[in-house]
């Protein structure tokens, strides 16, 4: 990051003037934390005693044999508290908020994972908490909303625009400009105005800090490739970070939705539908029309269904340091299925995108090489989406009979 928050041509901080001062303070606090070795130690202690870090690196023997190529290792962010890598970022920001002396946090959420993590952190740190969530997402992710509320957060359904993630981000910014003095906006991914992309990456880099040791222990050398799904880009940046200066090839997998040529996807760095733009406070590749209006995106995975992408990834893409691929909804369901059956592990729909690409490439990689799939989260909390996507008849019956019970009683 240069001193204006750019990574090559990307990033920056395109923020309303009212936030200028707040961002100054955030920059200062972040730099102070970065330069204070005790801060990272405090962070590690928190993650170790509250959130099960280091998360395991699992050798997927059955999948490896099945594909007959590279040794497949899975980084298990599903076992992180709240079920995804999101907690890494959120807990880190929680420590910063404590240092800044603020008493209230807000966050946007799409899949609900980041909202869950933020509500959790707020409960743990004793902060007030408001979560903005597109109305569409509130509807598809009701269980997450339920838990956020139970942890004491206020969940506000956002009824503007496409009523999904990007609109929740806009709404969170609106709250922030109104309540800057008391409030910190816990940005959920490596996007947004500087210093968020770098800061979120820093917290998420705990993933690659761990895998680098783990893979050496389990495999004796660094992996040939690492695969991560790319929504905003935080789990990808986190799992790539400490390999950027190594020979390991880094592969980001975007949401191919109904296909990269269908217009129904969320692929920004793979494919040709995106173009450079500035929105939500930063410059990156956006899915937008000729006039710069953002397009609707599509993915079976709510957490990948986003118009922008980390400016750091745009930079690495431009510099060809990270390769980008896309996985379609259909491929994702198949990879999920195989992983459950062969390894007894349930990746989130988001994470399953990374599995798709790894499965495509594993057979072509030598048997003495390792690849790591970053399993960003667990899928069991997505039961409503996954059972629905599988069109499971007993699930439907179950829901219908539950509903009948509720209707007759109310």
């Amino acid at each position: 990051m240069d001193n204006k928050g750019f990574f090559g041509n990307w990033g920056g901080a395109y923020i309303p003037e009212i936030l200028h001062q707040t961002f100054q303070e955030l920059h200062v606090e972040y730099q102070r934390a970065k330069n204070d070795p005790a801060f990272w130690q405090e962070y590690l202690h928190l993650m170790r005693t509250y959130s099960c870090r280091p998360t395991p690196l699992t050798y997927a023997e059955n999948l490896s044999n099945h594909f007959g190529g590279a040794r497949i290792f899975i980084k298990r962010e599903d076992l992180n508290h709240t079920g995804a890598h999101k907690a890494n970022n959120v807990m880190g920001q929680g420590l910063l908020v404590k240092r800044m002396g603020k008493k209230r946090v807000i966050a946007e959420t799409g899949a609900g994972q980041h909202g869950m993590a933020t509500a959790t952190m707020a409960a743990k740190f004793g902060f007030d908490c408001t979560i903005y969530m597109g109305e569409v997402d509130v509807r598809r992710q009701r269980p997450n909303v339920f838990w956020m509320e139970k942890m004491g957060a206020t969940v506000v359904p956002v009824k503007d625009g496409s009523r999904t993630l990007k609109d929740a981000i806009n709404e969170a910014f609106r709250d922030w400009v109104t309540n800057i003095d008391s409030t910190h906006y816990v940005f959920g991914t490596a996007c947004g105005p500087a210093p968020f992309p770098e800061m979120v990456t820093w917290f998420q880099s705990i993933i690659s800090e761990e895998t680098k040791e783990q893979i050496k222990e389990l495999h004796g050398k660094l992996p040939a490739r690492i695969y991560a799904c790319v929504g905003g880009g935080s789990n990808a940046m986190g799992s790539f970070y400490h390999y950027l200066d190594t020979d390991t090839e880094l592969v980001g997998v975007e949401a191919g939705g109904h296909g990269i040529d269908s217009g129904m996807h969320a692929s920004r760095l793979c494919g040709t539908d995106a173009s450079p733009g500035v929105a939500q406070g930063y410059k990156t590749m956006f899915l937008q029309n000729e006039d710069g209006q953002m397009l609707e995106t599509h993915s079976v995975a709510a957490g990948l269904d986003y118009v922008g992408v980390s400016p750091i990834l745009s930079d690495l893409w431009e510099k060809k340091q990270v390769r980008f691929e896309a996985a379609t909804d259909k491929e994702v369901m198949a990879a999920l299925d195989l992983t459950m059956k062969l390894e007894g592990i349930i990746p989130a729909l988001e994470s399953s995108h990374a599995f798709v690409q790894a499965f495509k490439e594993a057979p072509t990689i030598a048997k003495d090489e390792a690849i790591i799939i970053n399993m960003s989260g667990r899928g069991d909390k997505d039961i409503f989406t996954i059972a629905h996507a599988y069109d499971d008849p007993s699930w439907k019956e179950f829901i219908i009979s539950r509903a009948a019970e509720y209707s007759s009683k109310s």
Binding site: A13, I15, Q21, I169, A279
Partner: protein
């Protein structure tokens, strides 16, 4: 003549100037035409025309909805610029474009400035483009003699105000409070102190916006600000009573 000069001239004859706001293509360009006509005929001194954007992060619910509806109607940037040109050619007051940076960026900043200049647009308000991010923008503004209007916020330090003052042109837009457009502000002691700070920090005219809704608000600003900005209030009015209500409303403001 450049924006600051125009405003100073107009100010000579008035206690306070009035700037109003419209969202282009909302409810329709047809309605925009009628609204602008009523505004100008009732003494508005400057109009900011918002080119709609899908992600208007600094706007509150009223303007947000207007942006979305306009886009849903199919409003394009080209239409907006053409409309701006038409207005500037028709009425003898300064017209500004207000929009978010991506509209310029995606259109091409060069091209946007060229077209805006051709349209005789006097200034640009881009709430998500702080000076640090706008090197090219400020260069082009200067070259094209279109005023880049910057914003003071209640959170701005003296130092920050100085920076903004040094980069801005035309006037300084002082937002009256924290938050987004469209909510009522209260003009108490804090506000007066803030306005004094603004006045101290710039020699340009100062406009006050965010939440100005009636004659009373405007009275309160007289002698302290050069221009009052009416934003969401006219949109609400048009939504509720149609474009023909705008004239009487403006007339009633002073």
């Amino acid at each position: 003549m450049q924006l600051e000069q125009i405003l100073r001239q107009r100010k000579e004859k008035k206690d306070i100037l009035l700037m109003t706001h419209i969202v282009l293509g909302y409810p329709s360009f047809e309605a925009n035409r009628e609204i602008v006509r009523q505004m100008v005929e009732n003494g508005v001194d400057c109009i900011e025309m918002q080119i709609p954007f899908s992600e208007p992060m600094a706007d509150g619910p009223v303007i947000l909805k207007a942006n979305q509806d306009s886009l849903a109607n199919g409003t394009t940037v080209a239409q907006c610029i053409a409309f701006g040109a038409e207005m500037a050619a028709t009425y003898d007051i300064p017209f500004l474009f207000m929009t978010y940076y991506n509209i310029l960026f995606k259109h091409g900043e060069d091209r946007f400035f060229t077209e805006a200049k051709e349209a005789n647009i006097k200034g640009l308000i881009i709430p998500d483009l702080p000076p640090e991010m706008g090197e090219n923008f400020f260069r082009l503004a200067k070259e094209n003699e279109i005023a880049p209007i910057l914003i003071f916020a209640p959170t701005s330090t003296q130092e920050r105000m100085a920076t903004l003052d040094s980069m801005g042109q035309g006037f300084i837009y002082c937002v009256a409070r924290r938050g987004v457009t469209g909510k009522k502000s209260s003009f108490g002691d804090d506000f007066n102190e803030y306005l004094a700070r603004c006045r101290n920090a710039t020699r340009m005219p100062i406009a006050v916006g965010f939440g100005i809704q009636d004659k009373e608000d405007i009275e309160a600003l007289k002698g302290r600000a050069d221009m009052a900005v009416i934003g969401s209030q006219t949109i609400r009015l048009v939504d509720e009573q149609g474009p023909e209500a705008v004239g009487p409303f403006i007339q009633g403001l002073r």
